[in-house]
C-alpha cells in the first residue's frame, strides 16, 4: 500500500475539472438552493403577519390574500428545494459516474506491478467506496453547506431588520454554539474511526474462531479464544459508549442553545412587548428563528467536519489516477500498431511463438532483490517450459516477463527474434492464452466465457474446442447448456469444471503462446485423467510455459526450471536434473511419494 499524495484545500482542486464538466448542473443546483432557503426563511414572517395584522387589528380582511401567498410560498419551496435536491442527486451520480469511469479506465492501463503491490480489496475500495464518498461530498455536503449557510444568512438579515436588538442578542449565541459543535463533531469523527478499527478486530476474531475450529478444538484453546474475543469486544463496547457520551453532549448543547435563545427572547422581547415596542407576532417569529438557527449552525459544523475527513478519500483516488503504468508502448509502436483501445490490426504481423530471454536481469519495481541475473533461455516455437518450485518461491516471474506484464531491468525478451518492446502490448497479448490455477471465469453464460478470448468464434468452433478438452460433458450436465449462468467468478461450477472450460476458452483464442498455471488441489482420479488429457491437448503445437505440479507434465517438458527463493537454481531436462540430486530431485521425490501412495492405495 502506498502513501497517498497530500493535496491542498481538502483536495477539492481534484474535483474542479469534474464540476466543470457539469457546469450547467452545478449553477442550477446552487441557484435553486440559494432561492429555496429564502422561502424557508419566510415562514416565520407569515406567522408574524398573521398575529400582528389579524389578531392585532381584530380583522380578517386580507385573509384570502394571506392564504394564497402562504400557499404560493409553500409551492415555491417545494419546487425550489425539490429541484435543488433533484439536481444535487443528479450531480452526485454524475460525479460518481465520471470519476468511476476514469478510475476504471486508468486501471485497465496500469501495469501488473500495481496489482502486485495492491490487493484486490484495496483497489476495489478505491473504485467503489472512495468514489461514492467523493461524489456524495462534492454534491450533497456542498449543497447542505450552501443551503444552511445561506439560510443562516437570510434569517440573520431578517432578524436584524425586524428587531435589531433581539437579532443581535441571538447572533451572540451563534459562535458559542459553533465552537461546541465543532469540538464534539471532531471528537465523534475520531471515535468513529476507533470504533471501525475495533470492529475490524472483532470481525477478524470471528474469522479465526470459525475457520480455525479444528485447530482450536485439538488445542483445547476455546477458552483462550473467548478471552481474546471478549477483550476485543470489550474494547469496542467502551469506545462505542464513549461515542454515545459525545453524541449526547452534542445534542444537549444544541438543545440548550436553542432554549437559551428562547429564554433570551422571552426575557428581553417580553419586556419590549410589555412596553409596547415589540408586537407579539414579531416576538413569536423570533421564537421560531431561535430554534431553527441552532439546527443550521450544527449542520454547518457537521458538513465542514466531513469535508475535512473526505480529504483522505480524494487523495487516495488522486494517487491512483496519477499512478503511471510501468509498461508503456513507445510513440513509434503506437503509431504503427495502435493503442489497446484503438488497435491497428491491419499492421500486425503474425506471431509464431519463438521466445528468447537474452541476457535478462530483472528485479521487481518495488523490490531491490535481483531475481534474474544475465539469464538466457531460448524457447523455440512449440516447445514447453515447466517451472517448478515451492509455493511462494516466485515461479510467476518468468511468466510475467513473457507476457510483458513486466519488462526486464536489463537485457531483452525477444518474441520471434525481435525485442517485445518493438511491438504493442495488445499485439502480444492477442496471441497469448492464459489458464490460471484457480481458473477465472466472469459472471455470465458459459458461451460468453468461452468467447472471451475470441468473440467471433462460431458455434462449430466452440463445440469442437469443448470436445477436445472434454468440456462438452460439463456443459451437457448444465441445465441450459451453453446458455447456463456460471455465477460470480464461476461459483456454480467446481474447480475441475472451471479448468476444463478455461482450457476450451484458451483453445478458442488459438494462442501461439500458452501460459498454464496448474492446479495443486487434489481431484479424483478420473477428473485428474481428463485434465491431464486436456492439458496435452491445449499445449500441442504451442509454445507453452507451465507452472507445473503434476509429475507427468513436468517430465514431458522440454526444459525444466527449478525456482527457489525467487531464483532459478536448476535448469535442464528431467533426467539431467534427477542425476544432479539437488533441489529438483528432492521436490520430485516428495511429489512422487505422494503420487505413488495415492496411486497404489486408491486403485480400483
Amino acid at each position: 500500500m502506498k502513501e497517498h499524495n497530500r493535496l491542498p484545500f481538502f483536495g477539492l482542486g481534484f474535483v474542479v475539472p469534474y464540476w466543470k464538466q457539469y457546469r450547467g448542473l452545478a449553477v442550477a443546483m446552487v441557484l435553486c438552493g440559494l432561492l429555496g432557503s429564502v422561502t424557508d426563511a419566510m415562514f416565520p414572517l407569515f406567522q408574524r403577519y398573521a398575529v400582528n395584522h389579524f389578531v392585532g387589528g381584530k380583522t380578517l380582511d386580507t385573509m384570502g390574500i394571506f392564504f394564497a401567498a402562504y400557499l404560493v410560498t409553500l409551492l415555491l419551496r417545494a419546487l425550489l428545494n425539490g429541484s435543488s435536491a433533484y439536481l444535487t442527486n443528479k450531480m452526485e451520480v454524475s460525479l460518481d459516474f465520471s470519476i468511476r469511469r476514469d478510475v476504471f479506465a486508468h486501471l485497465q492501463e496500469l501495469s501488473l506491478s500495481y496489482y502486485n503491490q495492491n490487493g484486490v480489496g484495496y483497489i476495489h475500495a478505491r473504485v467503489i467506496s472512495d468514489v461514492d464518498r467523493i461524489g456524495g461530498l462534492c454534491s450533497w455536503m456542498l449543497m447542505n453547506l450552501i443551503w444552511e449557510g445561506s439560510y443562516l444568512l437570510y434569517i440573520i438579515v431578517i432578524m436584524l431588520t425586524i428587531c435589531p436588538p433581539l437579532g443581535a442578542l441571538l447572533l451572540l449565541l451563534m459562535p458559542i454554539e459553533a465552537v461546541f459543535c465543532f469540538y464534539f463533531q471532531h471528537r465523534l469523527t475520531r471515535l468513529g474511526r476507533q470504533v471501525r478499527e475495533a470492529n475490524s478486530k472483532v470481525t477478524a476474531d470471528y474469522n479465526e474462531g470459525i475457520t480455525g475450529a479444528r485447530t482450536i478444538k485439538t488445542l483445547v484453546a476455546e477458552g483462550e479464544m473467548e478471552r481474546r474475543f471478549d477483550a476485543d469486544a470489550g474494547e469496542m463496547y467502551r469506545t462505542s459508549v464513549h461515542m454515545g457520551r459525545y453524541r449526547g453532549g452534542l445534542r444537549a448543547v444544541i438543545d440548550l442553545t436553542a432554549n437559551l435563545g428562547l429564554a433570551l427572547i422571552l426575557w428581553r422581547g417580553g419586556g419590549m412587548a410589555l412596553n409596547g415596542v415589540l408586537a407579539i407576532g414579531t416576538l413569536s417569529a423570533f421564537t421560531v428563528y431561535a430554534i431553527n438557527m441552532t439546527g443550521s449552525v450544527q449542520e454547518v459544523a457537521e458538513v465542514l467536519e466531513s469535508l475535512i475527513n473526505a480529504q483522505v478519500n480524494i487523495e487516495r483516488v488522486h494517487t491512483l489516477l496519477s499512478q503511471q503504468p510501468d509498461v508503456v508502448d513507445t510513440p513509434e509502436v503506437i503509431a504503427r500498431y495502435g493503442t489497446s483501445l484503438q488497435p491497428k490490426r491491419e499492421n500486425w504481423e503474425p506471431l509464431c511463438g519463438d521466445v528468447e530471454f537474452r541476457d535478462v536481469t530483472f528485479h521487481y519495481p518495488d523490490g531491490e532483490e535481483i531475481i534474474l541475473s544475465h539469464f538466457d533461455l531460448k524457447v523455440p516455437q512449440g516447445a514447453s517450459v515447466a517451472i517448478v518450485g515451492e509455493t511462494g518461491a516466485g515461479k510467476s516471474t518468468l511468466v510475467n516477463l513473457v507476457c510483458r506484464f513486466f519488462e526486464p531491468t536489463e537485457g531483452a525478451v525477444l518474441i520471434d527474434g525481435r525485442d517485445a518492446r518493438e511491438r504493442s502490448q495488445l499485439w502480444l497479448h492477442s496471441s497469448i492464452g492464459y489458464v490460471l490455477q484457480t481458473p477465472h471465469l466472469f459472471s455470465g453464460t458459459v458461451l460468453e466465457n468461452l468467447r472471451y478470448g475470441n468473440p467471433e468464434a462460431t458455434m462449430e468452433e466452440i463445440e469442437l474446442a469443448c470436445r477436445r478438452v472434454c468440456a462438452d460433458q460439463v456443459i451437457a450436465r448444465m441445465e441450459h447448456g451453453y446458455d447456463s449462468q456460471v455465477g460470480e467468478g464461476g461459483e456454480m461450477l467446481s474447480t475441475g469444471e472451471k479448468q476444463l472450460l478455461s482450457f476450451a476458452r484458451a483453445i478458442l483464442s488459438d494462442p501461439r503462446i500458452l501460459i498454464l498455471d496448474e492446479a495443486t488441489s487434489s481431484v479424483d482420479t478420473l477428473t485428474e485423467q481428463i485434465i491431464q488429457q486436456a492439458i496435452s491437448e491445449v499445449t500441442r503445437g504451442r509454445t507453452s510455459f507451465i507452472i507445473a505440479h503434476r509429475l507427468s507434465t513436468i517430465r514431458g517438458a522440454d526444459t525444466i526450471l527449478m525456482v527457489k527463493d525467487g531464483q532459478i537454481v536448476e535448469r535442464g531436462r528431467h533426467s539431467e536434473l534427477m542425476k544432479r540430486r539437488g533441489a529438483y530431485f528432492r521436490l520430485y521425490m516428495r511429489q512422487f511419494e505422494r503420487e505413488t501412495a495415492d496411486r497404489l492405495l486408491d486403485k480400483e
Binding site: G82, V93, T218, A252, L260, E390, L587
Partner: protein, 602 residues
Amino acid sequence: MKQTRTSMLFRFLRGSRRWFAAALLLGLLRSLCAMLNPRIIQYTVDSIIGGQNAPLPGGVRRLLERAGGVPWLRQHLWTIALAVVALALLGALCRYGFLLCTALAGEGFVRSMRSQTFSHIQGLPFSWHMEHQTGDIIQRCTTDIETVKNFLSDQLSSLVNCAITLIAALAFMYGVSPRLTLVILLTQPILLAYSAFFRKKIAGQFQQCDENEGELSTIVQENLTGVRVVRAFGRENYEQARFDVQNEKVTAAWVKLGVWLTAFWESNGFLTGAQSLFVLAAGVTMVVHGSMTVGALLAMVSYNTLAGQPIRQLGRIISEMSKAGVSIDRLYDIMSAQEERDSEDALTPPMNGDICFEHVNFSYPNCPQTLYDIHFTVKAGTTLGILGGTGSGKSTLMHLLDRLYDLPADCGRITVGGVDIAAMRRDWVRSHVGMVLQEPMLFSQTLAENIAMGTKDATLSDIREAARIACLDSSVDRFAKGYDTMVGERGVTLSGGQKQRAAIARMLLQKAPIMVFDDSLSAVDAETDAAIRAALREQMAEATCIQISHRVSTLMHADQILVLDHGRIAEMGTHQQLLERNGLYRQIYDVQLSISEEAEAE
C-alpha cells in the same frame, strides 16, 4: 437447554435491560420538558403581556401569588427566562442521559450478543463447523448482529420516542384547543398512509439501486481478480464497455430514485406546511372571534410542528422492522444448534496407557462409510505408523481419537488405558492428545504466542526449546523480531513448511502423552523430516506416537505399521514383517525407494 427466539433475545438482553428502561424514562422526561415551552410562551403572551387571566397549575399559581402575582412577574421577567433555562438544562441533561443510556443499552446488548454467539460457536461440535459455510456464519455474526442491534437500540427507541412525542404533543394540543386538535388528529392517518405508500415505492427503487450497484461492484471485482486473464486475452476494450454499460445503469437507477425521494420529501413538506397554514389560519380566525387567546394560538402552532416530525419517522421504522426479524431468525439458527456437552460424571483417567481401536466403523452424515472394522492396539510408549493415500480415512481415525467426532453406539469403541474415551471429558481427551494437522492454522498473534497456544504458563525458554526440536529455530533467527514476529494477516506469511514446523513446536510444548502427526511433514523435504523425527525420538521417548504419512521412509522405523486402504486395514506389522508379506506396503516401498536408481538409469 431448549430455547426460543424470545428467550434467546432475553438472554442477550441480560445486563442491558435496566439501561433500556432508563433510556425510555429519560426520553419521556425530555419530551415533557420540550412540551412545556409552548405553555410558557402561551402564559407569557396571554397573562404577562396580554393581561388576561390564563390558567396555571395549582402549585405554580400559589407560588406566584405569594411572590406578588402577575405584576411582580412583569417587573421580574428574567424569572420566565430562568424557568425556560432551568427546563432546558433539565431537558438537555435528559437528552444527554437518554443518548448515553441508549449507547450503554445498545452496546451492552450487542456486546453480549457477540460474546454469546462467539462462545456458543466455540462450543459447537466440529461436525457443525463442517456442515456450515464459514462466510455465511461470519456474515451472521457481523451483519445480522448489527441489524438486530440497530433495530433495538436505534429504531425501537426512536419508535418509542416518536410515539411519546406524538401522543404528548396531541395531548397538550387538546388541552389548548380540543376542536382544532380533533381536526388535526383526523389528518394524521392520511399523512401516515401517504408516507407508507411512498416508502414502499422508494424501498423498491432502493433495492433496484442496490442490485445495480452490486452488479457494478462485481464487475469491478472480477476485472481486478481476473486482471491477468483480461490482459492476456487483450480484452481491456470489452471490459471497459461492460463496465460503462453497468455504470450508466447505476446512474440511471439513482436518478430515478432521486426523483421519487424528492417527490416524497417535497410533497410531504407541502402537506405539513399546508397543515401548519390551516392551524395558523383557523387559529387566527378563532382568536379574532374571541374563542381562543393569542398565546394559545402560538402554542398550537408550536405543538403542531412538534407533532409533525414523528409521523414522518414512523413510516421508516416500520419498514426496517421486517429486516430485523430476518436477522433474528438467522442468529437463532446458530444459537439453537446443540453445543458439545460432557455428562456430569465424565471421567479424567490417566492417559498414558495403551490405545485400542475396537472394531470401529464410521461414516460421516449423509456420506458413504469411511471406516470399516478398524481394530488395532498401540502399546503405551510405542510408535504406530499409518500409511494411506488421499481419502483413505486416515484423518478420520484421528478425528475420532481426538473426539472431534463421536462414535455412534454399536460402531465399536476406542479406549485409552482400558477406558472408553466416550466416557471421558472432551477437553481432557483433547489436551492429552497432541495433534499436528497437515494444514495447520496459525493465529494472527506473535510466533511465541502461537507456539504457546494451548499451553498455560509456557516460559520463553520452553518455547525456544520446542522450536529447536521442531527445527524451526533457524527460520526464527532470520526474522528481524524473532519470536515476537507477528504471524498471519498483519504480519509475515510463513511458508507451508514453516507453518508445519511451528505447529509441531506448538504441539510439543503441550507435553501430551499421546502425539499424532497427521501428514504433518508433507511440506518439508525428507532430510528435515528425518532430523525432526530424530530429535523427537530423543525428547519424547515415553510418549505414544501416531505418525500418518504417504512416505514410507517416515514410517519405516515405527514399532508397528498399519496400511489403510479405502477405510480398511489392508496390512499391519513391523517394517520387516510387511516387507516379507510382499503386499501393498512392499510395492509402495519398492517404488518409492527405487526411484533414485531409476532416475540414474534414465
